[in-house]
């Protein structure tokens, strides 16, 4: 890093046009989004009957997706706020990646919750006539707040970079130049602006931590305040937050690897970053495993009659394969890979990150669906398809579309803005050289 000149850093980190693979990637994502929109139009016209959700499983993969998105969005507060406030500097190249993951995830969480509604045109009533006693209203408030905090936390550190980008009109093109000018031409890098900017970032870093904890705790309370087998737990807030940090950190490791490869950022996202993020992932995976042991061992030890069917369904029954797959891929295998130094090299760390993300998605599915299929009162006199849940193709396509949408936001952001903070990297390099 010491040998890199300021000019070189800027040119290395300027947004790059998509090559052929980039265009194909965007095309594929757009394709998924388009199919998702078509399926959603069908759902809008025919109603939620096109899904496999019925009286018992009224929260299917849409809500699993929602919980997944909310979880992954917490990484913004972990990397940007917690590490910044702890005066950890190695995470500087990762802050923007974390923040854009947070913004895209929280955006898609908001979208998917509307998708789950039978009458989305009545959504505004939640704001006009919401019951303050309902955790759903708390969730609406906290998600909206978290969205704006994340946007601001993305925007303030971007201001110095926007000022730099405006100087590269030939390379960025006229349209993007207009956008950069609109968003940040007023940034002159004066001491008073720097002071305001830094203070704003610090305020946001402090503010976002309780909001991030609130957003996922409230999401967990949507379940835990309902008296049902598997959800009736006082452990849920901490269990959800630890899982959220794990999947978020896993997502960052995956994004680090992809951006490093695609934009040739080996000088900025170094092996050291994978090593450190690998250690963070091991810690988070162990923490989540600990909460999982608490969440399942204690009720399994007591094996209350009313919870027995639900628990056995997870351990050895119809959900056993998904359950053990999720536990193994989200926690055990990543720990086994990343605990060794060789496992914290970019490629194995990337594999571990992918496993964490995939396992975590299924973990959310397991939190939502099996409980709904095991109510306290037995299911009687209902059609057979009420007793099982397997998503219809419309649900799969819409869920995939929302995941593609999140990836598309991240991809387009990286096309328009520097994915590694330019000004901060320059400042830190200069500081390092001075020292």
């Amino acid at each position: 890093m010491e040998s890199l000149a300021k000019q070189k850093i800027t040119e290395d980190l300027l947004p790059q046009k998509f090559g052929k693979p980039g265009k194909i990637w965007v095309g594929v994502l757009l394709g998924f989004c388009a199919i998702g929109i078509i399926a959603y139009c069908q759902q809008l016209s025919k109603g939620l009957v096109v899904t496999a959700m019925r009286d018992y499983v009224s929260w299917g993969i849409y809500i699993s997706n929602f919980v997944f998105f909310v979880a992954i969005s917490l990484v913004g507060s972990l990397i940007t706020a917690v590490l910044r406030l702890s005066d950890v500097h190695w995470s500087t190249p990762l802050t923007r990646i974390a923040e854009i993951i947070a913004v895209s995830a929280i955006t898609c969480a908001s979208i998917i919750i509307v998708v789950d509604m039978g009458r989305p045109e009545r959504f505004y009533n939640l704001f006009l006539h919401g019951r303050l006693q309902s955790p759903i209203v708390w969730d609406v408030i906290v998600i909206t707040t978290y969205f704006f905090v994340s946007i601001l936390l993305l925007y303030f550190p971007l201001l110095p970079d926007l000022a730099i980008l405006t100087k590269y009109k030939e390379r960025t093109g006229a349209r993007l130049h207009k956008l950069y000018s609109f968003l940040g031409s007023f940034w002159k890098n004066t001491p008073s602006q720097i002071h305001i900017g830094e203070r704003a970032i610090n305020i946001l870093s402090v503010t976002i931590i309780p909001i991030a904890f609130a957003i996922h705790t409230v999401t967990s309370w949507l379940f835990a305040t309902t008296y049902r087998p598997g959800w009736d737990s006082t452990n849920f807030g901490a269990y959800f937050i630890s899982g959220a940090f794990l999947v978020g950190a896993g997502g960052v490791v995956v994004a680090m690897f992809v951006f490093r490869k695609a934009y040739k950022l080996e000088n900025y996202i170094k092996e050291e970053h994978f090593d450190k993020m690998g250690k963070v992932l091991v810690l988070l995976a162990l923490l989540y495993l600990y909460f999982n042991v608490n969440e399942f061992l204690v009720p399994a030890f007591k094996m209350k009659k009313s919870e027995e069917e639900h628990l056995l369904g997870l351990f050895t029954g119809e959900f056993a394969m998904v359950f053990w797959f999720a536990i193994t891929t989200a926690m055990i295998i990543p720990i086994l890979i990343l605990i060794f130094k060789k496992g914290r090299k970019p490629l194995p760390a990337f594999v571990a990150g992918v496993l964490v993300v995939i396992g975590s998605w299924f973990k959310r599915y397991l939190i939502v669906t099996p409980t709904l299929l095991h109510p306290f009162l037995p299911m009687q006199d209902v059609p057979e398809n009420y007793k099982h849940y397997f998503p219809t193709w419309q649900e799969w396509v819409i869920a995939m579309g929302s995941l593609a949408g999140a990836l598309l936001i991240i991809t387009l952001f990286a096309r328009i803005f520097p994915i590694i903070p330019i000004q901060e990297t320059i400042t830190e390099t200069e500081q390092h050289e001075k020292d």
């Binding site: 303050l132 006693q133 601001l152 303030f156 007023f186 004066t190 008073s192 602006q193 900017g197 503010t207």
Partner: protein
């Protein structure tokens, strides 16, 4: 030829035995019994119980049509009809038309009968009842007395050594007035109990309903008698429906929740608005 005839006879014999065995398996015998109830010396009714031994166990039989008779089983003495419910019970109130038959003697008989159905044989049950009445009253120092009398030669005579349950009538069950639930009648036919339930919630005037029961007595059936006494604590139900609670409707959330929620929202959004104002300030600094 002879051999063929023997084979045919053997076959027919076997078929007859099989069919009769089959018929036996198909039809079960039905056991009918009757219980008599006299509630507060006002309402009298009969309950028929239908049961049958199936797979070695007695089971209550629903959907059995039953007819109730007073005295003997004749069309003239029919007092009502019913069909057993899922507990195997059928209830009929004793109508005013049975008055003459009832007044004939101190003892009265009831008959319940059911015709044969596809799965059960016909059944019949009888009950021989001695007419009796139970009275409840109170004395000083919150003492409760229940008197059991039977009709003997047109005279109400005290009945000795019968267990009477003395309790307080609550919504779903009875509550003992003291530690002991039941008391035996003495030579005067009196069972007495002390009321030991202080500060028990009653109605808005503090009224409680005392109740005395004779349960399933072979001679007298089921008798009960009630008396209202002002021995409870007055209780007025206050509806929580429109109060500020966590389960109330919109706009009726608890004040503490509103204070907490709104102060958090105001604090966080105050910070956000301040930060948006900082962006404006940055713009002004940049323009200067």
């Amino acid at each position: 030829m002879k051999k063929t005839s023997q084979q045919l006879i053997a076959f027919l014999l076997l078929l007859t035995i099989s069919l009769s065995a089959f018929a036996q398996v198909e039809k079960n015998s039905l056991s009918l019994s009757i219980s008599y109830y006299n509630s507060n010396n006002q309402t009298q009714y009969l309950v028929a119980h239908a049961k049958s031994k199936i797979d070695g166990k007695f089971q209550m039989i629903p959907n059995i049509p039953v007819s109730f008779y007073i005295g003997s089983k004749t069309p003239e003495t029919l007092i009502g009809k019913g069909v057993t419910n899922e507990k195997g019970d059928a209830l009929v109130f004793i109508p005013a038309s049975a008055k003459d038959e009832w007044n004939k003697a101190a003892k009265v008989s009831f008959v319940v009968a059911s015709p044969a159905t596809k799965t059960f044989d016909e059944g019949e049950g009888t009950l021989d009842l001695t007419k009796a009445k139970l009275q409840i009253d109170t004395l000083a120092d919150r003492k409760i007395v229940a008197t059991l009398l039977e009709l003997k030669d047109s005279i109400w005579t005290p009945v000795k050594a019968v267990d009477v349950r003395i309790a307080i009538k609550r919504m779903d069950a009875d509550l003992n007035v003291a530690e002991t639930p039941a008391y035996a009648t003495d030579s005067l036919g009196v069972a007495s109990a002390d009321f030991k339930r202080d500060s028990l919630l009653g109605d808005s005037k503090g009224n409680l309903v005392l109740i005395a029961h004779v349960d399933d007595n072979d001679l007298y059936g089921n008798l009960s008698s009630e008396k209202t006494v002002p021995w409870g604590k007055s209780y007025t139900y206050i509806s929580q429906f429109d109060k500020r609670t966590l389960f109330a409707r919109r706009g009726k959330s608890p004040i503490w929740l509103e204070l907490m929620a709104y102060s958090i929202v105001v604090a966080v959004w105050g910070i956000l608005i301040y930060l948006f104002a900082q962006i404006r300030k940055l713009k002004q600094l940049g323009a200067a």
